[in-house]
Amino acid sequence: MEILTILIPVSLGLGAAGLLAFIWALKDRQFEDPKGDGQRILSDRWDDHPPQN
């Protein structure tokens, strides 16, 4: 059962990493326009040259 001392911190750490990623995405306003983001990948406007700003 000593393996638990490694596995539990690892699982908690992975979960925490996911949570941090979610919080970052939230603060970065990536949930402002879910519908538009889904449609935007269909546009080829920026395929060759990414937008400058």
């Binding site: 539990i8 979960g15 939230l26 879910p34 538009g36 449609q39 935007r40 990948i41 406007r45």
Partner: protein, 738 residues
């Protein structure tokens, strides 16, 4: 103008007195003028719906000189433009050219929705409790599958270390709301939720400290996770409704041109005082009640009275705010502004109507009213019963906590918001915005639909009946003359002749109240009223007509009629097919009302109805036990809209009417009204089904908890399965109607 009222308070129906709200708002307008970044413009794009729309709009805007960047938000259907020095008036035509309708939005009114802080706050709590739930579940699975002694205690301790801060953080919305309702001496839905969260956490800590078998940390976290999702959906539906209301406020810009010592200055409408001189250009809306002191023109009062025919106005004539000046520039002396204006006169009527309607109790409120006491009673009696039978305090508290957790309204908390979200999303796609939370339920009960005529069943815009009466050679002249005026008949003529290139005219003069005259190849040409052109007057009163005279020829009569709103006929047919009573109430003259009723197959109609009579009529119907849906757009409909059981107004309606109604049609088509009734009925049925489902789970699970057999595993299963079934049931609504 009065559309400020909707921005003022989003509480439905608060804006009963639009003009009263305008004053403080105007002060805010002035304050924020400096604070706002002038470069940011926000336009609403009601027609945007796909990837191509995004690309088109962004490309057209960024290609426009002076635009630094443009970004479309498809979820909210609006575009934010960074264009220093440009105004919305520069950009709206750019979008119109590529076929997108756009309206300027009031950035202040939108501040609440763009930085939707409450929404992100809830999302954050959902994320945190979701994370905690996953990790605790991993540990709980180990405990359920037989971890023992020290291992179990260790797992419980770790779960507790994750769960306690999570519950403290994620549960705040519930604790806050429970505290508020307790202070108000009520038992809301949040009281048993908070009690369950606190009791479950406390008992679990106690059990863990005493190496007990069962800890409910997973249940506590799961509870907050599911309930937060319900809360978030609820919040989103409200936020969308709110932003819809905010968009509508921005359709008209509340400014007036004031004359001060001969100089013109643009001021907020709320800054006007009686005695001020204001100038109103042709095509402009009258900003305040006043008396004409200079100029003649024609006035469109359709929104106030429902009349289609413009009225001639000359000095001495009294105008009311909300009327539209058509042909000549006018100078008015303001007689009443703000709370004294004619808008405010309607207030008493609207308020009285609202009081008469009373407050509607939603299904969720009715459910909560019965539910909360029952849950508390059940938990308390199980505690007393077990303590009395076994004398074991620890066991009794454990069972009471289990009862609270099992009965906790995960599914109930999701039952209504999940349905409301999918129903309002569906209606939104059809072009119907819901402003009021209970509107959907009230709409489902409707059995009588009352329509207004002008502006609702018709577009309120005349159309040339037969373009072929104009000889081909005269088309260009007629078009050019029509272009010179903003009179509705001229605009209709210009529209009918849109394919014909206008002729070159000289000396174009608009004679207010009469028509337009010009010279064409040295001949005098005129377009205007019969008496002005010495044409034989035709007194049939049924049609609107205008005359075209080219020197040396007999005047040519052009007949116009108000056009039906698209989808009106289908909508009425469908409502009648569904067995609903359809009534037409109009302030217009009997002849056109009868004609329209005949065309649409409406047998019950009344013409020449005053605003108060409309409200009375609706009230009488309600007294007879009918549930009335009022569909109207004018100031004369406002009181009736407020009095009716549910109400819808088109986006072209006057702001006061939009404020008074529960739902707003964003498109021109009237078709969604009939569909909305059906969706509403379906949604209400789903809500009831959802209540039945969650009640069913409780019937199965509560006895298990009462006899003390509920383990954390059973609690987790009951909670998640019922929540998922309820959500899936709600989602069925997004599919097909019927």
């Amino acid at each position: 103008m009065a559309d400020l009222s909707a921005a003022q308070g989003y509480q439905p129906r608060l804006g009963a007195c639009p003009a009263c709200d305008a004053v403080p708002l105007a002060q805010r307008l002035a304050e924020r003028a400096e604070a706002l970044r002038p470069a940011q413009l926000i336009l609403s794009l009601p027609a945007a719906h796909c990837a191509i729309c995004i690309t088109d709009v962004e490309r057209a805007l960024t290609d426009h000189l002076g635009v630094r960047s443009a970004r479309v938000n498809l979820t909210l259907r609006r575009v934010t433009v960074d264009a220093p020095g440009l105004t919305a008036e520069d950009l709206v035509p750019v979008l119109a050219r590529i076929g997108y309708e756009a309206h300027e939005l009031d950035p202040e009114a939108l501040a609440a929705t763009t930085a939707d802080r409450a929404g992100r706050d809830l999302l954050m709590r959902i994320g945190v409790s979701g994370f905690a739930m996953m990790n605790i579940m991993i540990l709980s699975v180990a405990v359920w599958s037989g971890a023992e002694a020290a291992t179990r205690d260790l797992f419980h301790w770790i779960s507790g270390a994750i769960a306690l801060p999570t519950v403290a953080f994620a549960g705040q919305p519930f604790f806050a709301s429970a505290w508020r309702s307790l202070k108000a001496r009520r038992l809301g839905m949040d009281v048993p939720i908070s009690l369950a969260l606190i009791l479950a956490s406390a008992i679990s800590v106690f059990e863990t400290a005493h190496s007990g078998h069962h800890a409910y940390f997973d249940a506590a976290v799961m509870l907050s996770f599911f309930l937060l999702i319900g809360r978030y959906l609820d919040h989103r539906t409200r936020a969308i409704a709110r932003s819809a209301a905010a968009e509508l406020t921005a359709l008209e810009v509340p400014r007036a041109t004031r004359l001060l010592d001969g100089a013109e200055e643009v001021v907020a409408v709320a800054a006007l005082h009686p005695g001020d001189l204001i100038r109103v250009r042709p095509g402009g809306r009258i900003p305040a009640d006043g008396e004409i002191i200079e100029g003649t023109s024609e006035i469109d009062r359709a929104l106030l009275t429902g009349e289609t025919l413009p009225v001639t106005a000359a000095p001495g004539f009294l105008l009311s705010a909300g009327e539209v000046n058509l042909t000549g520039p006018l100078t008015l002396r303001v007689t009443a502004a703000g709370p004294d204006s004619s808008l405010a006169r309607l207030t008493a009527l609207v308020e009285a109507a609202e009081n008469a309607r009373g407050r509607y109790t939603s299904l969720a409120e009715r459910a909560a009213r019965g539910y909360s006491p029952a849950v508390h009673l059940l938990a308390f009696s199980s505690f007393v019963g077990w303590f009395w039978m076994s004398g074991d305090l620890r066991l009794a508290v454990n069972i009471a906590a289990a009862v609270l957790i099992i009965t906790c309204p995960c599914a109930l908390g999701l039952a209504v918001p999940a349905v409301a979200t999918s129903a309002s999303g569906r209606l939104f796609r059809r072009g119907l915005l819901i402003k009021d939370g209970t509107a959907l339920e009230r709409l489902a009960e409707v059995d009588t639909v009352v329509f207004d005529k002008t502006g609702t069943l018709t577009m309120g815009q005349p159309r040339l009946l037969d373009p072929s009466v104009i000889p081909p050679g005269h088309g260009p002249v007629a078009r050019a003359l029509a272009d010179a005026s903003s009179h509705p008949l001229s605009r209709a003529l210009a529209e009918a002749l849109a394919d014909i290139p206008p002729a070159q005219l000289e000396d174009v003069v608009e004679h207010p109240g009469k028509g337009v005259s010009a010279r064409w190849h040295g001949r005098s040409v005129q377009l205007g009223r019969a008496e002005w052109l010495d044409a034989p007057e035709v007194a049939d009163g049924d049609t609107l007509s205008s005359w075209l005279r080219i020197a040396g020829k007999a005047p040519l009569r052009l007949d116009f009629a108000d056009r039906q709103r698209p989808g009106a006929a289908e909508c009425i047919a469908r409502l009648q097919a569904d067995g609903r009573r359809v009534i037409l109430l109009s302030g217009d003259r009997p002849a056109p009302v009868a004609a329209l009723a005949r065309q649409l197959g409406i047998t019950e109609w009344h013409a020449g109805v005053s605003p108060a009579e409309k409200a009375d009529h609706v009230a009488r119907l309600s007294e007879q036990g009918e549930r009335v849906l009022m569909v109207g757009d004018g100031l004369n409909d406002t009181a009736a809209l407020a009095r009716a059981h549910a109400s819808i107004s088109p986006a072209s309606a006057l702001d006061a009417a939009r404020v008074a109604s529960d739902m707003v049609l964003t498109g021109q088509d009237l078709g969604p009204v009939a569909e909305a009734l059906q969706i509403a009925r379906q949604a209400t049925r789903r809500i009831r089904e959802n209540f039945a489902i969650s009640f069913g789970y409780n019937v199965v699970a509560v006895p298990i908890a009462l006899v003390g057999l509920a383990t954390p595993l059973i609690a987790a299963l009951a909670m998640s399965i019922s929540s998922i079934t309820v959500t899936l049931n709600a989602l069925r609504l997004s599919g097909k109607v019927r």
